[in-house]
Chain length 248, copies 2
């Protein structure tokens, strides 16, 4: 089967570093789904406003893959998939079967995320909680059906132990309000609320964007998001923000 791109995701994740590892209900991160001309047909969305959640099926970008290594140490540029992978949350040194993970190194590099439907604007869908890069191609959008898709008591295998892992954010000398003074707009016509950017960046830092369980309190990390570069260190359970710069 050959897939056609029906839409692209647009959000602040211009860099793979910082993308939450799974979509989460509570994520404040907004993504705009912009349909390709052939599929931008208002009728194709009729009735979608009755659903609170949607599925998006999307494609991993090469850029996304370069932040995660497959388990077999092959050169990433020559492999498309690997029978085992090293999930970052297991410290990056335990191998799991690719079908027991959501790794991008799959036989077919398809991603699956449940998102909240926030609104419909000029034919675009606005959703929250998508764990995708800006520019990600989308292949399908389906309604979420609680009676067939929801299994709150499902056993989460090796992912169980990491599901509630969360850091605190200490903004230190940096005022998060600086982020709210951005000129960047969500769309030409409609700026996000000032607070929205602060909430998004704080949420991303809470999720611990460090690769694997790197644990060097002196190490500085840089994360680009929505036109900002945030420099931070991590000491125990705390993210210490060092610097916020605007990227031109």
């Amino acid at each position: 089967m050959t897939l056609k791109v029906i839409a692209y995701a647009r959000n602040g994740h211009t860099d793979k570093f910082g993308i939450p590892r799974q979509s989460r209900e509570e994520s404040p991160i907004l993504t705009r789904i912009v349909f390709e001309p052939e599929f931008a047909i208002p009728e194709a969305l009729r009735g979608i406003e009755g659903y609170s959640h949607l599925w998006i099926l999307w494609g991993f970008l090469e850029q996304h893959k370069t932040c995660i290594k497959p388990a077999d140490n092959k050169d990433e540029s020559t492999i498309s998939w690997s029978p085992t992978v090293r999930p970052p949350r297991l410290g990056g040194n335990k191998r799991m079967g690719v079908f027991a993970t959501r790794s991008p190194f799959r036989p077919n590099p398809l991603g699956l995320s449940s998102v909240k439907l926030v609104g419909i604007e000029g034919g675009d869908l606005i959703v929250s909680g998508a764990d995708v890069l800006d520019g990600t191609p989308i292949y399908d959008i389906k309604p979420y059906l609680s009676f067939s898709d929801s299994h709150p008591d499902a056993k989460n295998g090796f992912a169980e132990e990491t599901k509630d892992y969360r850091l605190e954010v200490d903004w230190g000398m940096c005022s998060p309000d600086y982020l709210s003074k951005t000129d960047r707009h969500w769309t030409e016509n409609e700026p996000k609320t000032d607070r929205q950017w602060v909430d998004e960046v704080e949420y991303i830092l809470c999720q611990d964007p460090r690769p694997g369980y790197q644990n060097d309190p002196e190490r500085e990390y840089k994360m680009d998001y929505a036109g900002w570069r945030v420099t931070f260190k991590v000491l125990e359970n705390k993210v210490l923000v060092q610097k916020i710069e605007q990227i031109l």
Copy 2:
């Protein structure tokens, strides 16, 4: 993106008539997922036994589509998708946007089902609750993560009103035990328990396999499943089984 078939689904649904419209937790219908040689690598499943539920991403077969008509009355053989479709559960005469439905007439004919992992046998996965035809190609298998995939309170749009719809089964003169006397085996080595076939057929009939809301109590329907042909009528909320035959 061009997708490779990684596995095929094998189950009793040799005919599209009778396939439940969505996967359901309580479905007793077993499906065996048989990997293609290139992907039949035991290591690729390492750790999967820790999950109770999985996602399968699969492709709609032409055969599957012929039981459901798109809304625009075009000849089915010439169309690949349609901006609006008529969901069978809405009586087949109300149009909804394709992205607000799970219709097979999508720009990319991908299906998505959450299934229960029942076991692993000789490299095959045995799952229950897959709403797919025998022979359906599978493109990806992912673990179900309750903390990101489960939204029990999601609003189900127009699908809400139909979610608890269920018929009773009256076996009449036909002994369901006749089904259990089948010679058909689940695998060469391992027959299903006798009762399994009866449970599967009863479950399918409960789900009301009639197209749309056809409501002619005199009309006889025939459903083929796992080598059996079951003839039935529907009177009000009851399925009246008329005949059970073995198909050669």
